[in-house]
């Protein structure tokens, strides 16, 4: 059996664990309908408004920065495996690559993306 077959096996095992467990729980667990139970758990008071609202932009900026560096990780892993045979050429080319990406991080840093500004203190 190849690793790909085993991958499907492991994937199915994971899905079975959740689906099977949930099915069993739905089967044997008690069901008592109560209007109050469906309320979101907040402070014991009825909740005000929806929770699907605008969220502070700081989180999204981190996500964009993450995308930049995650793509870099994808690029660098194949390079990392063969860097011994590439020698100094490999080091030089990746130095340029990392320098450009560090510039990106430095720019974001300078722009204040990495500061967690508080609305209250302003």
């Amino acid at each position: 059996m190849t690793d790909s077959t085993f991958f499907v096996v492991v994937l199915l095992a994971g899905i079975t664990l959740v689906a099977g467990g949930l099915g069993l729980a739905l089967l044997i667990s008690p069901k008592s309908l109560n209007f109050q139970k469906g309320e979101p758990y907040e402070c014991g008071l009825p909740t005000h408004g929806t929770s699907w609202m605008q969220f502070r932009v700081g989180y999204y900026l981190y996500a964009i920065l993450f995308l930049m560096f995650d793509v870099e990780i994808i690029f660098l892993f194949p390079w990392a495996t063969i860097v011994r045979s590439l020698g100094m050429t490999g080091l030089a080319s990746i130095l340029i690559f990392i320098a450009i990406l560090s510039l990106g991080l430095a720019y974001a840093w300078k722009k204040g993306v990495l500061e967690w500004k508080s609305e209250i203190s302003k």
């Binding site: 492991v10 095992a13 309320e39 979101p40 907040e42 969220f55 920065l65 995650d70 495996t81 967690w116």
Partner: protein, 374 residues
């Protein structure tokens, strides 16, 4: 080979089962049966490790706080977590009004599947792994980051403000520390020249990667442990579920078994982080070996490989518990600062230092081939 055939090693047993299946079933049947057996064994190991970890965590936490911990069910409370599991199975699964039903039910799937997929790639011992991809480290990073989708879905779909804040915090934290984990593992990939776990372990026969790459490897090890803690929402980095602020964070609205799925995957992720650290930095299932000391090496091989693996992973797990009960929780801005302003730049520089060390032959195996060489 003599050293592989010692009695407690499971290689022989597995080979015997494999032979039995090949001999008694037609090829069309042997593969599915083998697949089902592997799946069942994997899930059994998953459940047992999770239950054991929950018990150990509660016990160790209790001792750190000078309490006794669970001690009623079974000797020293050993079957407490089993009883908890049965209790949680017969709890009602509550449907939340106004929740996004589809996403609400899909979230545990993502979380569990991600951790099972990562769990399958761990090398527990000689030939004791479900998956051994030649891109093992990369695969592990890829699948383990699927879990955050489940956490974000859980927080979003619950229609609860605590859940939402918890999920957003968790998302920011996870993706940030994902980078550090990736880079520190990459440092070791540079050192060992392979992404396959079995090859990485084989390369550490006489010298662990932690010592082989000396300074950069040790920095990478520390950074990996920090980011591992942060990725699993543990220790001082447990803001997404800071119970004094957010009740339970992203899984506030989950009840019964659905809650336990999140709980289960959290413990398993903790184990996966410890296991990967043990495999990549501390030699995995490879027993402690000293070049030239043949008798000593033989004796070491008599301790089965899976015992070495669980011993090393267990030590790191204990360290993780220790950290958890020793440090106060960070604030979200401090947490993200730590990653983006300290760990990430250090990591990038560290990677380059490692490349220079590897290329100029300053690793221990290159410097002292007589002592540590392969």
């Amino acid at each position: 080979m003599l050293i592989y055939s010692q009695p407690l090693e499971l290689t022989k047993l597995l080979a015997a089962i494999d032979n039995f299946l090949q001999g008694h079933l037609s090829p069309g049947w042997a593969v599915p049966v083998k697949g089902i057996l592997v799946g069942i064994l994997l899930l059994a190991a998953y459940a047992i490790i999770a239950l054991a970890l929950i018990y150990i965590e509660r016990k160790v936490a209790a001792f750190f706080q000078a309490r006794l911990g669970p001690n009623r069910l079974g000797k020293y409370g050993t079957i407490q977590s089993l009883a908890d599991m049965i209790k949680i199975l017969i709890k009602e699964v509550i449907h939340i009004r106004k929740a996004d039903k589809l996403l609400f039910y899909a979230a545990p799937f993502f979380v569990i599947v991600a951790s099972v997929l990562a769990f399958g790639a761990l090398p527990f011992g000689i030939n004791l792994h479900a998956l051994d991809f030649n891109i093992g480290v990369f695969y592990l990073l890829a699948v383990s980051s699927l879990g955050i989708i489940g956490i974000l879905l859980a927080g979003w779909s619950s229609n609860n403000k605590y859940s939402m804040i918890g999920a957003m915090r968790s998302g920011a934290q996870f993706i940030s520390y994902e980078l550090s984990a990736g880079f520190s593992l990459m440092t070791i990939v540079v050192l060992s020249g392979s992404m396959q776990f079995s090859e990485i372990i084989e390369g550490q026969r006489y010298c662990w990667n932690l010592f082989n790459g000396h300074l950069p490897a040790m920095i990478a090890f520390v950074i990996y442990l920090i980011s591992g803690h942060a990725e699993t929402n543990r220790g001082p980095f447990d803001l997404p579920e800071a119970e004094s602020e957010l009740t339970a964070g992203y899984h506030t609205e989950y009840s019964g078994l659905q809650f336990s799925f999140f709980y289960l995957s959290e413990y398993l992720n903790m184990f996966i982080v410890a296991a990967v650290a043990a495999t990549v930095f501390l030699g995995g299932w490879m027993p402690v070996q000293i070049k030239g000391w043949e008798a000593f090496n033989q004796v070491m091989w008599y301790i089965p490989s899976w015992a070495w693996f669980f011993g090393k992973a267990g030590l790191l797990m204990f360290f993780s518990l220790w950290v958890r009960w020793s440090f106060p929780r960070l604030r979200i801005d401090l947490l993200l600062n730590l990653e983006w302003k300290y760990l990430l730049p250090i990591n990038l520089a560290n990677l380059l230092v490692m490349v220079v060390i590897v290329l100029s032959g300053f690793t221990l195996t290159d410097l002292f081939p007589a002592l540590f060489g392969k």
